[in-house]
Amino acid sequence: MPGQSLFDKVWERHIVRDEPGEPTLLYIDLHLVHEVTSPQAFEGLRLAGRGVRRPDLTVATMDHNVPTLPGPVTDQMAKAQLDALRANCEEFGVELHATGSGSEGIVHVIGPELGLTQPGKTIVCGDSHTSTHGAFGALAFGIGTSEVEHVLATQTLNQRRPKTMLLEFVGALPPGLTAKDMILGAIGQVGVAGGVGYVVEYAGEAIRELSMEQRMTICNMTIEWGARAGMIAPDETTFAYLEGRPNAPRGEAWERAVADWRSLGSDPDATYDAHVVVDVAELAPQVTWGTNPGMVVPVTGTVPDPGSFSDPDDRVAGARALEYMELRPGQAIEEIRIDRVFIGSCTNSRLEDLRAAAEIVRGRTVDPRVTALVVPGSAHVRRQAQAEGLDQIFLDAGFEWRLAGCSMCLGMNPDVLAPGERCASTSNRNFEGRQGRGGRTHLVSPQMAAAAALHGHFVDVRSLAAEAVPA
């Protein structure tokens, strides 16, 4: 028998029913729910007289809509949606991490934080960045509202077995670079549709060196190049992160679980449908210039000339992007002035992200023309950061220190860009209008966002790190 990949092993463990010609019926171990993509699903259950099959495997939080300033929700539509989630969780017996509970936060931040996300699990959520959880060796992917209803009712999903791809990072990541630069660089190489139809396994020495939080950044952006799920084989880093978390197994059960998780990694002779190699040894900090995450260049580079692209569709899309972004070919990235900085989102709002940004910010001040926002990914991250004094570093420098939520990543709450404003953002999408109608988004790492806030334009964070901090 040929060797099995991590994906093969997790997939096969979850087959409920597999008939030729039909999709596989796959069991779901963990269903994460939030306010935006669930109300119509719960309503569907009510209309059909169905219940939630496994409320014990279902966990809800409030994240997309919630304001990040204290006080009541003044947007009546947002309030109605949050109220609906609360009522639905009560009616169907689902655990809810509500705003103000102290355990709320972005769904992809609290899952790992609570120890709910574990190796070998199948995890779904009505959110495309569910791929984040694959960092633990789980098979995790985003679904739509009809599928949310299907999982609520049956705890299963009908799925065609996807193709598999191995994305191997080779070379050592240079100092000053981050997981965000690795994944943006990879997307720049493979293109935003490069992963369509695949589940990706990320491997290579550079992946092994990453912390869990950085691995989550990598897996988070899997959907940005079209793959629905990204996975990383669990190892000692994974186990050390999970041990002692509220929902992690304890005592003997922990030992058994770890022994099992060790067996999940891909066999040496595992095969994949595709294999991509990304060299990170020469990587520089990445900045997007356009309106999708594949439109990306090193900070040391210039805005490209779409006329030079080989694909005619890319030429048209590139020209359209430049017009929207109000940039011109040949412009140095470091010369691009910014108005706003957003440090947050399920991509980069965890404690290490905030520490790394604070390290750049410490003792310096935000450029007076820039409005800069830090939005921790969860109430827990926020408390931890405050215990370390990170909030004070940001506040002293002139950043705003907000409450947890998705915030300006997608601007469903009051945190939005005004038309024409340009933002250095640690989030995952630079689509037109994503952060606010007419707003312009440049995706960067937390360190690069922090550095841009201080200077009012993009700067190579590696040069900044070498500077002495003013006394």
Partner: protein
């Protein structure tokens, strides 16, 4: 779900690659708790200017594309966010079929769930279909889910591949949850055998 076997109607051309679901239905319309009424918001920021007037330059505002049932689109259509609102919006806008060289995976399954027909054809064939559309007067196409073909008024026929079980569901307008619950015994058996965690 209403059964869908054959769609004959006006084709609209949106020849742009990587149209993401944020463009199909911008976030400001995701706060509703209803499943219906999203058509008026489809492609909102592309369709309307800041004063709410139609932007004449946007493809779908062309009069010859009015009342389109079939959308011809560029590669990787529906990439990005998992919002099913994108499929709800396109369907409510009047579209039953999207034809493109490739699709975002989540959008593709969402569209199938709501009873839309997602047709994947090689890029050169999609371009050929786009070129076959009369950009002054508009053209009708026929998408036949029985024969698995797209036909042009000039009689050109493009066969396409389609997942057999998905086709069966569409043609019969079947509810996925109801079908799955026919196998509830298998789910219960799986749960009984699941290793304790």
């Amino acid at each position: 779900m209403k059964p869908i076997e054959r769609v004959e109607g006006r084709a609209a051309v949106l020849d742009r690659p990587d149209v993401d679901t944020d463009q199909i239905i911008p976030k400001q319309f995701l706060k509703r708790i209803e499943r219906t009424g999203y058509g008026q918001y489809a492609f909102f920021d592309w369709r309307f200017d800041d004063d709410g007037n139609e932007r004449p330059g946007f493809e779908l505002n062309q009069p010859q594309f009015a009342d389109a049932k079939i959308l011809l689109a560029g590669r990787n259509f529906g990439c990005g966010s998992s919002r099913e609102h994108a499929a709800w919006a396109l369907q409510d806008y009047g579209l039953d079929v999207v034809i493109a060289p490739s699709f975002g995976d989540i959008f593709r399954s969402n569209a199938a769930q709501v009873g839309m027909v997602i047709v994947e054809l090689p890029e050169e064939q999609v371009k050929e279909l786009m070129e076959s559309v009369d950009l002054d007067r508009g053209s009708d196409l026929v998408v036949d889910l029985e024969a698995l073909t797209v036909s042009t008024p000039s009689g050109k026929v493009f066969p396409f591949a389609f997942d057999e079980s998905a086709r069966y569901r569409l043609i019969n307008g079947l509810d996925d949850i109801g079908l799955t619950l026919q196998h509830e015994d298998a789910i219960t058996a799986y749960e009984a055998a699941m290793p304790p965690s």
